[in-house]
């Protein structure tokens, strides 16, 4: 069965008042795929994500989610698209005045008519999934940064959306929790077929979960690499891309040469 495109970006130009950050970008995400967006700091990953979820309007071009153009559609279609996506923000964005349980139950109560008891059970299941059992009645200000991330994830996937968007999910998590998060991503992807679009820098987690990646670049304001990270690691034509995956500094070669000279 040929998989269909669930996210399509066509000739997107994005930027902030006059300053162009992304120039003529096009790519597709297939249904059921784990798609990772990479790039150096400040190259516009969060900006791209904001366009994908309709928070920002493109200067030109289209973003199509599940067949509907998110940047140019009526209110009802937009609401329907929002129902299909879940977002984990870079800073968690939990509501500070609500407990974790209330945060997670908010979308469930809004979009379903389930009885209170079942909603509570669901909240418990979701918080269990991210290892936060026992923290139902805590306020976001009473838990750590990594726990906030996980609670934000629980809220994002409360309704089992078709597509999950993550902005740096593993930043601030310890390696063990980070691996658990990867496993959670993989199992959601396998069991529910959830499509994932992830912005991350964690190399191990990229090799662990990614089906496909794109890499953005600040200078060219475009995509400099696209494909399977394991292949790109050794075979990319672009030296920066190889260095990124092998965790080497841009001037690694120069430095190692001068080190050799010094030794002689």
């Amino acid at each position: 069965m040929k998989k269909r495109n669930i996210v399509q970006v066509k000739d997107l130009i994005a930027g902030y008042d006059g300053e162009i950050i992304l120039d003529h970008i096009s790519f597709d995400v297939l249904e059921g795929e784990i798609f990772i967006i990479l790039g150096g700091s400040g190259c516009g990953k969060s900006t791209l994500l904001k366009h994908l979820i309709g928070l920002m309007k493109p200067l030109s071009g289209q973003v199509i989610i599940d067949g509907n153009d998110i940047s140019n559609c009526d209110e009802i279609t937009f609401k329907n698209i929002l129902r299909k996506i879940g977002v984990l923000y870079q800073s968690s964005a939990l509501f500070g005045s609500m407990t974790l349980a209330e945060n997670v139950s908010l979308p469930i109560q809004e979009y379903t008519d389930l009885p209170k008891k079942l909603v509570d059970t669901l909240v418990k299941i979701k918080l269990n999934l991210v290892n936060l059992n026992g923290y139902e009645n805590h306020l976001p200000s009473e838990i750590s940064g990594g726990m906030k991330k996980r609670a934000g994830l629980a809220r994002a996937m409360a309704l089992n959306p078709k597509i999950l968007f993550f902005d740096e999910p593993s930043a601030g998590l310890d390696p063990v929790t980070s691996v658990e998060l990867d496993n959670l991503i993989l199992s959601l992807n396998k069991n529910l077929g959830t499509t994932m679009v992830i912005v991350t820098h964690e190399l191990p987690s990229i090799f662990n979960v990614a089906h496909r990646i794109i890499m953005l670049d600040r200078q060219t304001k475009g995509i400099i690499a696209e494909g399977d990270p394991n292949y790109l690691k050794d075979h990319s034509k672009n030296r920066f891309v190889r260095n990124f995956f092998n965790r080497q500094s841009q001037n690694y070669e120069r430095i190692s040469e001068s080190l050799k000279k010094n030794r002689n």
Binding site: F95, G96, L114, P115, L118, T121, L122, N137, S141
Partner: protein, 378 residues
């Protein structure tokens, strides 16, 4: 008997035997969009037919998530309560896995923390209050230390910041202070003229307006406007910095947050609010003048000379002095409430409200004290 109905993206078919056994063949999706409808329909089915046993066949289900799994658990519960049997047929592995997972096995919902009883809350409030007072005192202390330090090291004061706050608190507030004072002068003049006219003592309207405004109403009105405009914004600004860890950052960089954030605000307020009060006096007298000239047939000349005759330098200075004290209280309580912010956005809102309410309260209380003092002083 068989029937097919459509529940959004999910269809079902019911097979019923003579003995009261029901089998439901479900096909399509069981997810968050139809979970509550499925429970409703099958729940009422159980209630109406009261079957001895119920089986749900999941062979043709294309998608099921934890919402769907929960529906099955709920149906099982319903059957158990009605003393019936419940069975799943053709459930794929992942469904069974979801049902099995310990989270679902224990469907008791977590315990919500109940609000404690009245006595505990009362005690909590008192402890809270004591802590509040303690913090208040230590805050006064740290502000005093900051003042002394800045006095000894004048360079450490952030002059630019102070000028900025002087503009925000003073210059930007001038239009609204002028407008309100003018109208207040108008109102006082008009109200008093109604009485004074009976005695043919129109000219005393000028005395009344100038005295009342410069000693009491001018300072108080100005202070209340400043409390609403600037006291609240001080609290919101510092509170937001507090929750985004900016205050902590200042601290670890070796700045004293009190000196860095509070001092410019207090200094600016104490300098500009008395000036605002003077403006307020002038505009109020002008308001009274308008009533005097256009409604009471006084000449502008007579009105002004009566005003000058009534007002002593002491009256004006007393009002200005009081307004300086009010300014100190407003900026101090605004910053204090900002520093007391804990947690999230709601707490900032609370601090802002509390800053305005406490400063207005303090303004009135201190004014009452001043009135008593002046009564015995002279």
């Amino acid at each position: 008997m068989k029937s097919i109905e459509d529940i959004q993206s999910c269809q079902y078919e019911i097979a019923e035997t003579e003995d009261g056994d029901i089998t439901i063949y479900v096909q399509g999706r069981m997810d968050s969009s139809n979970a509550s409808r499925i429970i409703e329909i099958f729940g009422s089915l159980i209630k109406d037919r009261q079957p001895l046993s119920m089986a749900v066949d999941l062979k043709k289900v294309t998608y099921i998530d934890d919402f769907g799994a929960l529906v099955l658990v709920e149906l099982k519960d319903m059957m158990t309560r009605a003393n019936g049997l419940f069975d799943l047929q053709n459930a794929r592995e992942e469904v069974l896995f979801m049902l099995d997972s310990e989270t679902l096995a224990d469907t008791t919902s977590f315990i919500k923390i109940r609000p404690p009883n009245m006595f505990i809350r009362f005690g909590d409030a008192i402890i809270q209050y004591a802590a509040d007072v303690k913090y208040l005192i230590s805050f006064v202390g740290s502000v005093c230390i900051a003042f002394v330090y800045s006095f000894l090291h004048p360079k450490s004061l952030r002059m630019e910041e102070t000028f900025l706050y002087m503009q925000k608190t003073g210059v930007d507030a001038l239009p609204v202070v002028a407008m309100i004072s003018f109208l207040l002068g108008l109102i006082v003049a008009f109200m008093s003229s109604v009485q004074l006219q009976l005695f043919g003592a129109n000219i005393y309207v000028a005395s009344l307006v100038s005295l009342a405004m410069s000693r009491e109403l001018g300072p108080i009105m100005t202070a209340i406007i400043v409390a609403g405009r600037s006291g609240s914004s001080f609290a919101a600004e510092i509170g937001t910095m507090k929750i985004s860890e900016e205050v902590d950052a200042l601290f670890t960089m070796g700045f004293d947050p009190t000196r860095y954030l509070v001092l410019p605000k207090i200094l600016a307020s104490v300098i500009v609010v008395p000036i605002l009060t003077l403006f307020s006096d002038v505009f109020a007298i002008f308001g009274g003048l308008v009533v005097g000239v256009f409604m009471l047939d006084l000449t502008a000349n007579a009105y002004i000379s009566e005003t000058i005759k009534t007002l002593t330098v002491f009256d004006v200075f007393w009002g200005v002095f009081k307004s300086a004290v009010f300014a100190l209280l407003i900026s101090w309580i605004g910053c204090l409430r900002g520093f007391q912010v804990k947690g999230g956005a709601a707490s900032v809102g609370h601090a802002t409200t509390s800053a305005v309410v406490s400063s207005i309260f303090l303004i009135i209380v201190s004014d009452a004290i001043f009135t008593v003092i002046i009564r015995y002083l002279r």
